[in-house]
Every structure is written in C-alpha cells, then in structure tokens.
Amino acid sequence: MGRWVGPGSREASTAPLLEVDGLTVRLRVEGAQRAVLRDVSLAVRPGEALGLVGESGSGKSMTARAIDRLLPRGAEVSGQIRFDGADVMTLAGAGLRGYRNGVAMIFQDPRAHVNPVRRIGDFMTEALRTNLDVPAGEAYRRAADMLGQVGIDDGERRLRQYPHELSGGMLQRVMIAAALLTEPKLLLADEPTTALDVTTQAEVMAILDDLRREFGLAMLFITHDLELAAAICDRTAVMYAGQIVEVRESALLHDDPLHPYTAALAAARPDIAQTAHRLAAIPGRPLSAFEAPEDECAFAPRCPHARDICREATPELIGLDGGLSRCARAADLRGRLRPELAEGGQSDD
C-alpha cells in the first residue's frame, strides 16, 4: 500500500498530525550559543510511523526533545512546531497539558527515567489522576489492564512493586504501557530499546509495534539503527550534523537511497547472508551540528561522491521520486547509490 506523500495521491488530503517546520535550536555549549539543530522539517500523519535515524550527535534526540518541549533552559528555538494545527511552542496552561496528554514520550533508559521512590502503580497512574481527573480506583484498573497488553501478567501485584524490583525489559514495557494510558495520538520513542539486551530488544520492539498499530497511533521512532527503523516505520528520515538529509519510504531506503550518507550507513552494516572481505566504514567521524560548516554540505568531507558543487553552499532539501534529499547531486546520483557502490574510495561519476 503506497504511503508516500506525492501530489495527487489520495493520502495527501490527510492533514499531518505533527509538523516541524524549519526548526533551528541553539544551545549554550562551552560558553557560546551553538546550533544543535539546523532547519529541521518533517511531518507525521495520523497513524503513521516515521523513523528518525542518525549517529550520535546528529540531533535526533534533540529533535524529539524539542517537540516534547523538554529543551534545557536557555535554549534558543526558531521555526515552528505544529500539532493538530496548534503552535506547540506557544502553548501554556491547559493547552500545554492537553498537548502533553496527546503526545507521549518513551525514553531510552527506563531505570533512570522512572522515579525510584514511588511504586509502579503510582508512576503509571500519575498523569491520569492529576491531569485527567480519573479517580484512583479506575486509574489503577486501567493500568493493570494495560500491563496485560504489554505482556506483563499479574498486573495488580506489579503495580504495588517498586521500580528496582523489575528488570530493565519489564520496566521499559511499563514505560510503554504508561505512555499509552493517556490515549495519546503521537508516540515519541527515543531509542527505546538501545539500553536493553538483544533478546529483550526484540520482544519490546514487537510489543511497541503491535500496540501502535492496534491503537492507530502515530509514532516518531528515533534510533541509530537504519534497518530497525525501516522495518517498523512507513517512512524513514535520516539526520546528519543536525540536519535532515533524506526522507524516504522505508521499503525504498535500502535499495534506492537518495543521499550518499544513507547509502554509506546501510553499507556499514554487515549483511549476515554475505561474506565481506572488509568492514565498510565511513571515513572520518560524524559531526555535530555546531561543528558543521555553514556554507557547504556537511557530509562533503567524507563523501565519495563529493564535487565542487557540494562545497558552494549548504544544499536545500529537494523532492525526488516521492522522497526528499539534501544532496546537491541527488538527481545525478539517482539509482547509483546502492550500498555496494558506496564502499571505499572516490567514485568515478
């Protein structure tokens, strides 16, 4: 079922639930205000899952925090974030509370993100009792039900336990359950499985995916794992140095990427079905947004396809084949950015 945003597509009439438009965030880093996000734009439609992929420092977590208004004090924000048509940045009071009910964030390290001195039941029902005025008995009942949905039996007993009595995987399921209790429309999942061991990762991922589809929720799924994002998200956005460099339908991302960085990322992951003679690595190291030059393509120094045009100015995001790419040579490189070709050295074209 085609889901890309193209003119004339029947899905184009569905208004986006979340719209980020030209978001630029500056933070105080070592004495000066430096950009951590530059001109980030994306859109998530109701019920759609958008993956946000990038390495450390790419700005993906910061994007989620900006959307959830969890930026540190003193952060300068320009650009717009719209949720259900409302300007998120100017929300206050009841409007802000409604927003926080409608958008639920699932954090990376569950043990650090759950209050250690309060019981699980208290943690899960806090928002319901405080913001939605749900009576305690009803709230606890719903919480126990939701625990069942995430695969935790004996919910009532679990609700009485303290966080340190649960394993990391269980705690993350609790976090997911808690997030779903306020009946949000959008989930922000910030690397929800990175802090867990591999087996638990798969379980938790499956639960998250199932429930999301069952409840018809939109999701912004943040990860460093390109394959994972592509597997569970309809579309995937790739970030580098604080900017979006590609947005593409997930199915097409691996075999027909529109940006050399995406191709390099895909190639860097060894395929279990093939024998590789050498691990493909991207030369150089990933840049943070404030280290990136303002007047050229941030990826150019590490890109095998870089030409003079790449160093003239920061490339704009251009639409191509239903996706978006911030490569100045995107049109030229169309169809030739398959992962195998991204291995090592300068390319001839």
């Binding site: 926080r100 009910n101 639920a104 209050n115 806090e126 405080t130």
Partner: protein, 305 residues
C-alpha cells in the same frame, strides 16, 4: 552496628578509670585524700578487688538499672544530678534542631529551586556562618543582642516556659549557626541534583504540574541525603551543647560535664558521658530508620556510601 558502638563506648568510658595515672582509687577520689572508711565504701561499690571485666560488668549492669554511682563532690546520686539537668540540655538541643531544620532546609530548598540572587546569598551566608564556632557566635550574640540591644537575657536558665524560651533563644542560635550552613548547602545541592534527574524529565513530559513535580519527585528523592545530613548534624549538637551551655551559664548536662571534669569527679563524668554517647547513638539509629523508610531500595541497617 550502632549497638556495638555503644558497647565499645561504654567500655572505654569505664576503662578510663584504669587509664588514669595512679590506681583507680586515686582516680575515683580525684586526688583528694579521703578517710579510710570512705575508701572502703568506694572499694566495695566499684568491686575493686574483682577482675577488670567483672568490674565492668557490675558497672554496666548498674548503669542499665539507673544507678550511675555517687558524685564525690556533692555526695549525691549521679542519676539524680543528671535528671535535674537533662531537660535543659534536651531543650537546648531541640530548640537548636528546630532552627536548623526549619531555616537550614528551608533556605536550602528555596536556593535549590530558584537560581539567582536568593541562591547566591544563601551560599555566601552559609560559607560565613560555617566558619563561626559556637562559642564565638555566643559572645557575639551576647554582646550584640543581650548587652547592646537588650532583646534577650544574657545568661542563665529561665523560670517558666516563656522565660525559658527567651533565655534559650540566643544559645540555641549559637549552637545552630555552623550546622545551619552545612544543612543548607547539602539541601541545596541535593535539590539541584534531583531537579536534573531523568525521572523528573519523564514527569515533565507527562505534564505534571510544577508544584506536584517539586513535591513528589524532587523533594521526595532529595529527602534521602537531606535526612542523612540533618541527622548527623543534630547528633553532633550533643557534644557542642557543652560549650554553649558553659558560655551562657546554662545549667545543663554539658556544662556540668565540664565542671565535673575540672573537679575530677570521675563518677559524674562517666555517667554523663554514657548518657550523651547513648543519645548520640540513638539519634544515629533514628536516621538509619528514617533512611530505610524513605528509600525503598535500601534494607534496614545499611546506609548508602
């Protein structure tokens, strides 16, 4: 464990008898010359012809039953002498503790939650007051508030509850001053640290209102280190009370301890030391208990490093 501390402490207190130069009789009589009949009484009372450990046992047993011996100078029951003075010390320590808890924690919380002028002034004032020893504070307070301004009486106990309050205010402040600083600073640091924690971010992201956030998430977690430092500080007041009581001529256990030490009235010194060390241990136990209640991760009997 703390009970072991108490036992060892009592052993040391008792053993002081033998550490003194000369024989135990000389120590007990404090260098005074006594008639042979009195010496015989002392010998019998302290079982001086028995082995050391037996003597210790008798002494401890007596102590636990409320018999702490007889004062060589006043010829009265040590227990009676202590009982008449214990409320002065207890009142003083209580008053000072209240000041420390209310002002110290209060200032610390305010400073921790709001950066800015309030925070800086709390930091500066606590740095200064931390360096002022209680007896120096005592003379400053006396010269300023008692002599110059005549707001409070300078010396002595009061006669009834209200005048007690007036007489005890300056001493309590003197006692509380340096501890106030430590409690305020630790409180501030604990609040700051908790406010930056990730679980607070989770609560914010769910739209929990600020008041509730502070109460249920920040304060509740910061309460752990705050309780620990408050408990330790209050326990330390017990020893310093002696200095303040002397400076303000209060008729408390501490002042009496000092006087007896000067008079070399060993039985009284031992008795009061035992009482004070016990109080110290009890307060520490209470802190451990509070800690176990506040932090569900900790089992009773342990304290995080």
């Amino acid at each position: 464990m703390l009970v072991a501390s108490l036992l060892v402490a009592s052993f040391v207190i008792f053993g002081a008898l033998y550490l003194a130069p000369g024989n135990p009789i000389a120590a007990l009589s404090g260098g005074r010359s006594l008639p042979p009949s009195s010496l015989k009484v002392l010998e019998a009372r302290y079982h001086l012809n028995q082995p050391f450990l037996t003597q210790y046992w008798y002494w401890l047993d007596n102590a636990l039953h409320g018999n702490l011996g007889i004062s060589i100078t006043l010829r009265e029951n040590v227990t009676t002498l202590i009982a008449s003075r214990v409320w002065t010390t207890a009142g003083l320590v209580l008053y000072a503790s209240l000041i420390i808890l209310v002002l110290g924690i209060g200032m610390g919380v305010l400073a921790g939650l709001r950066p800015g002028l309030l925070d800086t002034s709390v930091l500066v004032s606590s740095a200064i007051s931390a360096a002022i020893p209680s007896f120096v504070a005592a003379i400053v307070l006396i010269s300023l508030f008692a002599v110059k301004l005549r707001w409070f009486p300078a010396l002595g106990n009061g006669s009834d509850f209200v005048s007690n309050l007036r007489h005890f205010t300056l001493p309590a402040v003197a006692l509380a001053l340096s501890s106030l600083a430590i409690v305020a600073r630790v409180t501030r640091a604990a609040i700051r640290e908790e406010a930056d924690r990730e679980h607070v971010q989770t609560a914010i992201s769910r739209g929990i209102p600020r008041r509730q956030l502070v109460r249920r998430h920040i304060l509740r977690n910061a309460a752990i280190p705050i309780t620990t430092v408050s408990g330790i500080t209050i326990a330390s007041l017990i020893a310093v009370a002696a200095v303040v009581e002397t400076a303000f001529s209060l008729n408390g256990l501490g002042a009496y301890l000092v006087a007896s030490a000067q008079d070399k009235d060993l039985a009284v010194v031992q008795g009061i030391s035992l009482v004070l060390v016990s109080a110290f241990v009890v307060i520490n136990m209470a802190v451990d208990l509070a800690y176990a209640v506040l932090d569900p991760r900790v089992a009773l009997g342990s304290r995080a490093a």
